[in-house]
């Protein structure tokens, strides 16, 4: 499901906000905004991207 949304190895994502009450995490992927349940978001492995306020999935 994540892959179909474009969350694939090597892409740059950034976290925008968290919905209240433990709701979904809103992430940015290029121009797109995705709302992803926390439990799913936790499964995305990221490492910080040097020289940018963004993160990179591995």
């Amino acid at each position: 499901m994540l892959a179909a949304h474009g969350i694939r190895p090597g892409v740059v994502v950034s976290v925008e906000d968290d919905a209240p009450f433990g709701g979904p995490r809103i992430i940015r992927l290029g121009p797109a905004r995705l709302a992803i349940a926390r439990v799913v978001a936790a499964a995305i492995r990221v490492r910080p991207e040097p020289a940018a306020d963004a993160a990179r999935t591995r």
Partner: protein, 672 residues
């Protein structure tokens, strides 16, 4: 293990045996009955595909600025530049192998449409995530035209696309389109019709020229070719290949290579994404611009602050506006009906139908039945649909769904369920149709259960009219509070009792957009007309039966049968029980019916509710009416969507909940 890793691992499957592949696309495409070529419109959810379709065909098909709302296919005959074609709008898809519960895979839907060409609608501002689907469609061997849609929004974000270059890379025509304004739409569809003509005329050379060189690595191409060779030879073990795919190849609807790209989708998808990434980098030019206002606002909608207060405000304002507009329309239409239509109907029916009881029952149906549609159904449902269309098309609803997601999770539902539940306060019937936006049957059933527990405008009117004048407005508010609590507890219980679990949310948020009046109107009208055609016959039949029971006196034995339950459990006079039971046929009549029956039973003195029921009894009556068994139109809709067994289970559950809650409240207020 993360989903990303799982995707990688899935690639390591044993390679297929190598044989020669033909690589030929079928020469003659399937054409519609009258020989017109079929053009399928394909795109990721929320790319404006249905708006594009409406622009191209001149007709509205169900569309919303909420992902996943095209729930069935729409087919339209179009004529462009002297050429006829059939345009088919498909549901939004991420990949060809998408499969939603209870539905065939997307490629099956696509093949069922028998397309001679495909228009792939992509987001010009987000090619990286949209080109893979275009590549997948192209790999099928069907000619494609790419519509680089939402070009205006891409421009506002400083993204410019070299369409000529993209067209070269894809070896397919690419059109700049703005679906909302109709820019480029007809040109794109015209191009697709032209390509479809080339294909169905059997010009193999032209088709071959149009066939692109695959941009994939050699090993992947070899694997697909090998698979295609085996598919062409028919020696594929069926446990690896869906039988539908084999029959499509056998029928010549799909080339073996096209079929192989579906079978090998898991291997091809990562390559498609890699190609999309490369190509997007080649054709995109970015200018630094200040993000558009809509983008900056979008973030505030989903942030806890100011998103939550805004959510509360929008919800209250929506309900207020629906109620205000609905009441206004209701009064206007209702008095027009009583003044102009009722007397005529009465005169005509009395003159034409000789048997008095039959004439009276017919009048129940034609006069009061239609009046109910005109004065309750139409005003509230239409105003709600208009408002809902505005909220959807503005993109606000998707943001609100994310905000509310966690709250609805407790009920086993995603935040999207807020939409049909809000619709339920107008009328349950369209709300149950609205549950089609949910993913699984479980979610749809849980949502429908909550919907039937939600008082619609007719039931709300009963609560207000029964309580406000006799027990005070506070009692009416309290009743709504109690009903809310009942629905909440029942929803929690249902989530715990119904087997299965909820899939976690992954949702793409649409940007905020200014709704277009014409589109809002078309959408509201489209849904409204399907409501009218569903509800009207049921209302007519229900009212006729109700009239018949009343006029023939058959109502008496029914009352005797339920008296012990009504008096013993709920502490209400037996007449109230009859009204409650018959309100199944017409909810908004729960009150009028009670009065009519009370007068028949207790004489003229009972013409005021207060004369034969205490405030406590009215309170219980209002709550049971609001919660118990849905009306006959709702039951019919439930049966149509889920089958009779589930429909009766849901209705039975609401009856159980209503009686239990009514019994408890009756004891609390001391009337039983």
């Amino acid at each position: 293990m993360s989903a990303v890793e799982a995707g990688e691992l899935a690639c390591h499957r044993p390679a297929a045996t190598e044989t020669e592949a033909s690589g030929e696309a079928p020469a003659a495409g399937a054409v519609d009955g009258d020989g017109s070529p079929v053009i399928a419109v394909v795109g990721r959810p929320n790319v404006g595909k249905s708006t594009f379709f409406a622009r191209a065909s001149g007709r509205y098909a169900e569309v919303a600025n909420v992902p996943g709302t095209t729930v069935s296919m729409a087919r339209r005959h179009v004529r462009l530049g002297g050429r006829a074609a059939v345009l088919v709008d498909l549901p939004g898809a991420f990949t060809l192998t998408d499969r939603s519960e209870g539905l065939p895979a997307f490629w099956e839907l696509l093949l069922a449409a028998r397309p001679d060409a495909i228009v792939v609608v992509v987001d010009a501002g987000d090619l990286r995530r949209h080109l893979p689907l275009a590549l997948a469609c192209r790999d099928l061997g069907v000619p494609i035209v790419v519509a680089a849609n939402l070009a205006d929004e891409a421009g506002a974000r400083g993204i410019e696309v070299d369409l000529g270059r993209l067209s070269q890379l894809l070896a397919a025509p690419v059109h700049r389109t703005i679906g909302r304004q109709g820019v480029g739409v007809l040109a794109a569809v015209g191009d697709a019709i032209r390509l479809a003509g080339v294909r169905s005329s059997g010009d193999r050379a032209a088709v071959r020229r149009a066939l692109p060189v695959p941009p994939y690595p050699a090993d992947v191409v070899r694997r697909v070719s090998a698979l295609a060779g085996r598919l062409a030879g028919g020696d594929v073990p069926t446990d690896h290949v869906p039988p539908e795919l084999l029959s499509a190849v056998a029928a010549g609807r799909l080339s073996p290579v096209g079929a192989a790209t579906i079978v090998a989708a898991e291997h091809l998808e990562p390559e498609r994404w890699a190609v999309a990434e490369r190509w997007a980098a080649q054709v995109e030019r970015r200018h630094a611009v200040r993000p558009p206002l809509a983008d900056r606002l979008a973030r505030h909608v989903t942030a806890p602050w100011p998103g939550l207060p805004l959510f509360a405000l929008v919800t209250l304002a929506s309900l207020g506006a629906t109620m205000a507009l609905g009441t206004f329309l209701s009064n206007v239409l209702g008095s027009a009906w009583s003044a102009a239509v009722s007397p005529v109907l009465t005169a005509v029916v009395t003159a034409l139908v000789p048997i008095p009881a039959l004439a009276a029952a017919t009048l129940w149906a034609l006069d009061s039945g239609l009046l109910a549609m005109v004065s309750v159904g139409i005003p509230f449902v239409l105003s709600f649909y208009l408002l809902l269309a505005v909220l959807e098309d503005s993109g606000y609803l998707a943001g609100a769904a994310v905000l509310a997601d966690r709250i609805f999770n407790a009920l086993g539902l995603p935040g999207r369920a807020a939409i049909p539940l809000l619709a339920a306060t107008g009328c349950n019937v369209p709300a149950i149709y609205g549950t089609r936006v949910l993913d699984s049957r479980r979610e749809r059933l849980l949502a429908s259960f909550l919907i039937t527990l939600t008082p619609c405008s007719a039931r709300s009117a009963v609560v207000i009219a029964a309580l406000a004048p006799f027990a005070g407005p506070l009692a009416a508010f309290a009743a709504f509070g109690v009903v809310g609590l009942i629905a909440l507890s029942a929803g929690l219980a249902a989530n715990a009792l119904v087997p299965g679990h909820q899939s976690p949310l992954v949702l793409e948020l649409p940007p905020l957009r200014r709704p277009i009046a014409r589109q809002v109107g078309a959408k509201a009208w489209f849904r409204f007309s399907s409501f009218v055609t569903t509800a009207t016959p049921v209302m007519l039949a229900g009212s006729f039966v109700l009239g018949g029971l009343y006029e023939t006196g058959a109502i008496g034995p029914i009352g005797d049968a339920i008296a012990p339950l009504v008096r013993g459990l709920l502490g209400l006079p037996p007449v109230a029980g009859i009204a409650l039971a018959l309100a199944f046929l017409r909810k908004e009549l729960a009150l009028q019916l009670l009065l009519v029956l009370a007068v028949a039973e207790y004489g003229a003195g009972a013409s005021s509710l207060a004369a034969f029921m205490t405030s406590g009894q009215l309170f219980v009556y209002a709550i049971v009416t609001a919660v118990s068994v849905p009306c006959v139109a709702t039951l019919a809709t439930l049966a149509g969507e889920f089958g009779w067994r589930s429909a009766l289970t849901v209705s039975g559950a609401t009856l159980g909940v209503a009686l239990a809650a009514g019994g408890i409240v009756a004891r609390l207020v001391g009337i039983a």
